[in-house]
């Protein structure tokens, strides 16, 4: 009990240098602890140890990934659009009309396995606060999810819980969910991925940064009270591999209150509008430790905090527990004394509790040299006195050893060439239906219909469109499009190419809405960085993404790394999830992927080049349970040209529908377009059954299918040839079936039969009693 035991003050620490400290239990290595002692010139107090242990955790310090993430900055393309780059809570890009957009994706993988509903819910809450902290009104969310095999018993616990958590929290916040991804794979069985993305919009002049300038300014904690939930949550959970003790970590998962977060959003936006804050930071992982050290490090370097002023929901919390608590829905602001009254009044209007817990202080040149000075007291006694930059910015950096795993060669040598191909039309037809029904390909409505996509009234495209699109404001025609993509199978086969393929797919998804891609965020989900094979995957992956962003002129604006997604020695397939943001001048020009009855007779063009590329494909995985060979080649110049054709086609209004080709190739794209609009199509493919097979199931990149009305065909062909994009007329829209003909054969599948195959999978599994 805090008030009965002796307080471990700074003075006490100085006189008791040999007191044993539980640094190892807090996840600190021997040399890290030794470094803290060197920095302080004494042993840390219990409170200081708490701060360093969470701030130097993998989750907060990026100590294993930093040397690789540097690439994103070093090779960043020149971009006029970038207003705030990496390092802040989220990057900010210009979208025109004086408005800016901030977006970011973040993982909540480990909590979502331990307690799926709350883990996923608080993942949404955390990313929304990151966006709010930049000064923006959050306007949409998306999520990228991966689970174990759909029919595995534990998936029936984890998936419904995660979906209900996202639904509960996001719907109650009033943010439209405009899409995302759903995937399944054996490696995710005990390591589900829950990556939540949020996007917000603001005026250029309203950008806020995490900083604490101006000595004498007040430090205010507002929002929820601080409790014992999530103590060490992200920092402990996300920085260690699961083992048999995982159930014991349940108390580390935070509990969310979306209603309070909604009030916090409205209250914060009012504080911003009335110019009542000079610096702001949300409390996420590492709670008060993180907010105070980062705000101080970003300002004068000096801050004094009276920790006993933190409003508590459990009066028995110790100072260390307060420092480590990850209670949700809290923010910290730096406020000028003259504006404090107005600040507190705005909080009162929204029923938000606020407490002044300290102030910004001057630092001497010597103190600045050491990294500033953050002091915390507990009922008058000094329990923390440390240079905040050493905790926030100068954590350990590891150059972890990495090496290409020995089994990589064998994996790549086992190509899909050995797999049996369909021999006739009946087999093609049957395999098309089974790929269309595969859990990672099938209709995700069971999941997406639990999310509100309409609220705010600006959603122009939502699930299951290729990318989500929202109007940036009610009084504007301008819009942004967003897509996230990741393909663990491709990345496993070749981390460099697989990551570029994920980038290319997200880019293509955005382009297929008619928007022009301008910026990138990422969530890099990997196994343990202590495994050299995993670290090699990570190094290759970041190299691939950095080069792709450089070549395409789309800077990485921020992101998140999630390591330790593994159980025992079995790591997930490396899964970098790449989010691409695009801009469209007029949302009325948007493209949809639906073949409608009104498009009857429109010509179907297949854009791009199709090669026999089946390594890691949905066909190989679904029909043969095979993963081997190489992922499809990535040609970014071809992606750029395709994107230009799609954006221009949208602008000129020459396309009736457009759909990118990815999982399941042309077969799935045609089926999805038919299902989304209700009209069928007839296509004629070159070659015999083997040619038709490749045309239908290859997953070559830089491809899309576009429906063009007869009167626009000339203009469309001209557009393709001007951009050097191969365009093959393969058929027409119309009828009530998808009909495929090739030399010597053909088959038809009625749209109703496609619908049954596509929609039955998830309800059959997750609605079963």
């Amino acid at each position: 009990m805090s008030h009965t035991r002796a307080m471990d003050t700074v003075a006490h620490a100085e006189t008791t240098p040999d007191t044993p400290q539980p640094y190892a239990e807090l996840g600190m290595a021997d040399d890290e602890y030794a470094r803290v002692r060197r920095i302080l010139g004494r042993r840390p107090t219990a409170a200081e140890l708490a701060i360093y242990s969470v701030m130097w955790s993998e989750h907060c310090s990026y100590k294993s990934s930093k040397v690789h993430l540097k690439r994103f900055g070093e090779t960043a393309p020149e971009s006029d659009a970038l207003l705030v780059g990496m390092g802040e809570n989220a990057g900010v890009v210009d979208v025109g009309e004086g408005r800016a957009v901030t977006f970011k994706i973040e993982s909540h993988n480990h909590p979502s396995y331990v307690e799926p509903h709350q883990g996923a819910a608080t993942g949404v809450g955390g990313i929304v606060r990151d966006i709010l902290t930049m000064g923006a009104r959050p306007i949409a969310v998306m999520d990228a999810l991966r689970f174990g095999p759909a029919d595995a018993p534990d998936t029936r616990r984890v998936l419904p819980g995660v979906v209900s958590g996202i639904s509960f929290y996001g719907n109650c916040l009033g943010l439209p969910n405009i899409g995302g991804e759903l995937g399944f794979g054996a490696g995710y069985a005990a390591n589900p991925l829950v990556n939540a993305l949020c996007v917000g919009v603001m005026r250029h002049e309203d950008i806020k940064l995490a900083q604490a300038p101006g000595p004498g300014n007040k430090v205010v904690l507002f929002g929820a009270t601080t409790g014992p939930d999530g103590i060490g949550g992200a920092s402990v959970l996300a920085s260690a591999t699961f083992d048999d003790q995982s159930q014991a970590k349940r108390p580390s998962v935070q509990v969310g209150d979306p209603f309070l977060e909604k009030l916090l959003i409205e209250c914060s936006l009012e504080l911003f509008a009335e110019d009542l804050v000079v610096g702001i930071q949300d409390l996420g992982a590492a709670g008060v430790s993180c907010a105070t050290t980062e705000l101080a490090a970003g300002g004068t370097g000096g801050m004094r905090i009276e920790l006993d002023r933190v409003p508590l929901r459990d009066s028995t919390l110790t100072p260390e527990e307060i420092l480590m608590s990850e209670s949700q829905e809290r923010m910290m602001a730096v406020v000028e004394p003259a504006k404090l009254e107005a600040f507190l009044a705005a909080c009162a209007k929204w029923n938000i509790e606020a407490a002044v817990i300290g102030e910004v202080t001057e630092v001497s040149p010597e103190e600045a040299e050491r990294g500033g000075r953050l002091r915390m007291t507990w009922h008058g006694e000094t329990i923390v006195d440390l240079p905040p930059r050493t905790a926030a910015d100068e954590g350990p950096v590891y150059e972890r050893p990495y090496a290409r795993p020995a089994e990589q060669d064998a994996l790549q040598a086992d190509t899909p060439d050995r797999l049996d191909r369909p021999k006739d039309a009946a087999a093609l037809r049957e395999q098309l239906l089974s790929v269309l029904a595969a859990p990672g390909v099938c209709d995700p409505t069971w999941v997406t219909q639990q999310y509100d996509s309409y609220v705010m009234g600006n959603t122009v495209l939502g699930a299951p469109a290729d990318g989500g699109m929202v109007r940036i404001a009610e009084d504007s025609d301008r819009g942004i499009a967003l897509a996230t993509d990741g393909n663990g199978r491709f990345t496993r086969l070749d981390p460099y190419t697989g990551t570029r393929a994920a980038y290319a797919e997200a880019y293509r998804n955005v382009a297929a809405t008619g928007a022009r891609p301008i910026a990138v965020t990422n969530c890099l989900n990997f196994g343990s960085p202590e495994d050299p094979g995993v670290m090699w995957q990570f190094a290759e992956s970041t190299r691939g993404l950095a080069e792709a962003c450089r070549d395409m002129g789309t800077p990485v604006t921020g992101g998140n790394v999630s390591f330790y997604n593994q159980t025992g020695h079995s790591a997930i397939d490396p899964t970098p999830v790449i989010g691409v943001l695009g801009v469209i001048g007029d949302v009325h020009d948007r493209l949809t992927s639906a073949f409608r009855a009104a498009d009857d007779g429109a010509a179907l063009y297949l854009l791009g080049e199709t090669r026999a590329e089946l390594g890691g494909s949905a066909w190989a995985g679904t029909v043969h349970g095979h993963l081997g060979g190489l992922p499809p080649r990535v040609d970014l110049e071809a992606e750029r040209a395709l994107g230009e054709v799609l954006a221009s086609a949208a602008e000129y209004g020459v396309a009736a529908a457009a759909h990118d080709l990815s999982d399941g190739g042309l077969a799935v794209a045609l089926a999805e377009s038919a299902l989304r609009g209700g009209a069928g199509c007839s296509v004629r493919l070159e070659g015999g059954v083997e040619g038709a097979f490749t045309a239908l199931f290859s997953e070559s990149t830089a491809r899309a299918v576009v429906a063009v009305r007869p009167d626009a065909e000339d203009a469309f062909r001209e557009l393709c040839s001007r951009n050097g994009v191969p365009a093959a007329a393969i058929g027409t829209v119309g009828g009530t079936a998808v009909a495929v003909a090739y030399e010597g054969g053909g088959f038809e599948i009625p749209v109703d039969e496609l619908r049954r195959a596509h929609t039955a999978t998830l309800p059959e599994i997750f609605d079963a009693e």
Partner: protein, 232 residues
């Protein structure tokens, strides 16, 4: 003179701005009303929007019912004078306030459901549906987790007999509502509550249709005196 239609914002209201947009598109002036102010600002009609008022703690709509703004609203609505439309959470608030009979409970699936929803308009004899023809099918948005309308059989029989079932789910209620009821009216026809969201179907760009606009143009016609109201 332009009609003034108030839209109440409770803490946790989410579709308040959407309701205001719908009012504006219909040609009226939207007037924001704040839950903590016992003042209707002289508006001609009121929309209680969707969302999670007061976090839906205790029961959906149970706390909002006691908000200061409801003090003036409830008697004016009960007397038949003030047209009030409750959408989703607003419908739940009207039921909790006893302005409408019945209650809304968890969807039978136990999941939140968001989808374009076909409805059949059963009654044009209310302040909010006069612009529709009885039997007309419209598509608006359904998005709710506790949208299952329920009441005892006698109440349901009385509602049906007096023509106070305003809209019904077409092709079966996705939430398990009794008799597929999606919305009901009070005996004067001035108070209407429904779970689906007409305010999200007022623009082809952002909604599944523009079918929902009729609710808002109906009340303007009603206020202009061109449409008499009375369920009987």
């Amino acid at each position: 003179m332009t009609a003034r239609v108030g839209v109440v914002t409770f803490p946790g209201s989410l579709d308040d701005r959407d309701a205001m947009r719908a009012v504006r598109i219909a040609g009226a002036e939207p007037v924001p009303l704040w839950h903590a102010e016992a003042d209707l600002k002289g508006v001609d009609a009121v929309v209680l929007p969707g969302g999670f008022s007061y976090g839906d703690y205790l029961r959906c709509g149970a706390i909002a019912r006691f908000a200061p703004v409801m003090g003036e609203l409830v008697p004016a609505a009960r007397s038949g004078a003030l047209p009030v439309l409750g959408i989703c959470n607003g419908f739940q608030i009207l039921c909790e306030s006893r302005l409408l009979p019945g209650a809304l409970t968890r969807n039978r699936s136990l999941h939140f459901v968001n989808r374009p929803q076909r409805l059949r308009v059963e009654s044009g004899a209310t302040a909010w549906t006069a612009r529709y023809t009885p039997g007309e099918e419209i598509t608006v948005v359904l998005k709710s987790g506790e949208g299952r309308y329920t009441a005892d059989a006698a109440t349901l029989d009385a509602l049906e007999a007096s023509g106070r079932v305003v809209v019904r789910y077409s092709g079966g209620a996705p939430n398990g509502s009794d008799r597929d009821i999606a919305g009901v009216a009070n005996e004067h026809g001035n108070v209407v509550g429904l779970m689906p969201h007409p305010e999200h179907a007022v623009e082809a760009l952002t909604g599944p249709s523009e079918d929902g606009l009729g609710f808002f143009t109906s009340v303007l016609a009603h206020l202009a005196g061109s449409v008499p109201v009375g369920a009987d």
